[in-house]
């Protein structure tokens, strides 16, 4: 894990800025998609153990709606957009004009699922195109996958690559929330960007802080 040990506070600031720019664009996209005010918190860049990672969205067993994609190209990694069930329900209900829709239903409506997938597409697309513009790197996201399941089961998908190299993960964590709901942590959506360990060098090089 020599790459990680060499990370300075300047590097952390750069990673924070990536989270800032990415999430700001995604929040704007979400806001215009829903015609609602969406706000974001200051990004956090943390180096955490796999087990601490589970606590970043309420614990391994918490059921969430998760969008996951892999990033390929000049920089590689995993990206997640995690929404608490309650907040995902609100967003999708408003998107498809159906206030009965719920991700807790055993039989999910196809319309609701594809709306969520599309929302994942739009949000991760705006996060990553902002990241690409900012760094000048060519990155290619895979088509996002959707899962409604335990947070631990979802997030561990993104820890596999990292676990070959380390027992800790550097996570760029940005949370967004609907305005008026900011004091209720359970309705925060999270963007988690987990660069693959080999990708930090290329990110720092692209931004001139190698």
């Amino acid at each position: 894990m020599s790459e990680v040990q060499k990370i300075t506070s300047l590097h952390l600031d750069v990673l924070k800025e990536i989270g800032n720019i990415g999430a700001a664009h995604a929040a704007t996209a979400l806001s215009s998609l829903l015609s609602r005010k969406i706000d974001m918190h200051v990004p956090k860049v943390e180096m955490v153990s796999f087990n601490d990672m589970m606590e970043l969205a309420g614990g391994a067993e918490t059921v969430v709606v998760g969008i996951f994609l892999r990033i390929e190209g000049d920089s590689e990694g995993s990206m997640f957009f995690i929404l608490p069930i309650e907040q995902a329900n609100r967003f999708i209900q408003s998107l498809i004009n159906d206030d009965q829709f719920s991700f807790s239903d055993n039989k999910l409506s196809e319309l609701g699922v594809s709306a969520m997938q599309e929302m994942g597409n739009i949000l991760s697309g705006s996060y990553l195109s902002a990241l690409s513009d900012f760094t000048g790197m060519k990155i290619y996201p895979t088509v996002p996958g959707l899962s409604v399941d335990m947070f631990g089961a979802i997030i561990s998908t993104g820890l596999i690559e990292i676990s070959e190299v380390s027992d800790q993960v550097i996570v760029i964590n940005t949370s967004i929330f609907e305005e008026g709901f900011d004091n209720r942590n359970e309705v925060h959506g999270h963007f988690f960007l987990l660069p693959d360990p080999d990708s930090f060098t290329s990110i720092f090089k692209a931004l001139g802080v190698a």
Partner: protein
């Protein structure tokens, strides 16, 4: 008086995190949460009511690109380490039996990326390692695309598996 003694020894749930392992004696139970592509391997001795659980992430320690490895992370080293730890609490390895759960594929991708098929590879590696150590596999709940939380009771030797959509089942 006896009644009182039993009451004071309440059972605890020992929690095992991702890439960790631990052992329990009755009346305690052992549990791990949010298994996705990871596999939870329970090794138990039903005569002594002792069980161990390892939450493995990767099939083989040869995948590690580090100098020191966390044994509990890999199927090959994790199962060996768990057997050793069970020996320390007086279990004879020939009495061990296994139950396993996990190895799901949480997201469907057309991509051939190997790490997306990690669940099935983990399950295969665990089974290979059990055979290598002559430990019979009594029951399994593997594959699919749901996350699992599992809890093993060394008294009943039942593994309880909870998923979001199918509730709780015992194997």
């Amino acid at each position: 008086m006896l009644h009182k003694m039993i009451q004071t020894h309440t059972s605890q749930v020992i929690k095992v995190g991702i890439a960790q392992l631990d052992v329990v004696k009755m009346p305690d139970t052992i549990r791990t949460s949010g298994l996705g592509s990871c596999v939870g391997v329970v090794l138990y001795d039903e005569t002594k009511n002792i069980a161990g659980l390892v939450h493995i992430m990767l099939p083989d320690s040869s995948l590690a690109r580090t100098e020191t490895i966390n044994a509990a992370k890999f199927a090959n080293t994790g199962i060996k380490a768990l057997i050793e730890k069970l020996k320390l609490v007086g279990v004879q390895p020939f009495r061990l039996k296994a139950k396993i759960a996990g190895g799901a594929q949480m997201f469907k991708f057309s991509s051939e990326n190997d790490s997306m098929r990690i669940g099935p590879r983990n399950v295969e590696a665990v089974k290979r390692e059990l055979i290598k150590n002559n430990i019979p596999l009594i029951a399994e709940d593997t594959g699919g695309n749901s996350g699992r939380t599992i809890e093993f009771n060394p008294v009943t030797c039942r593994l309880s598996i909870r998923t979001v959509n199918q509730g709780v089942k015992d194997i």
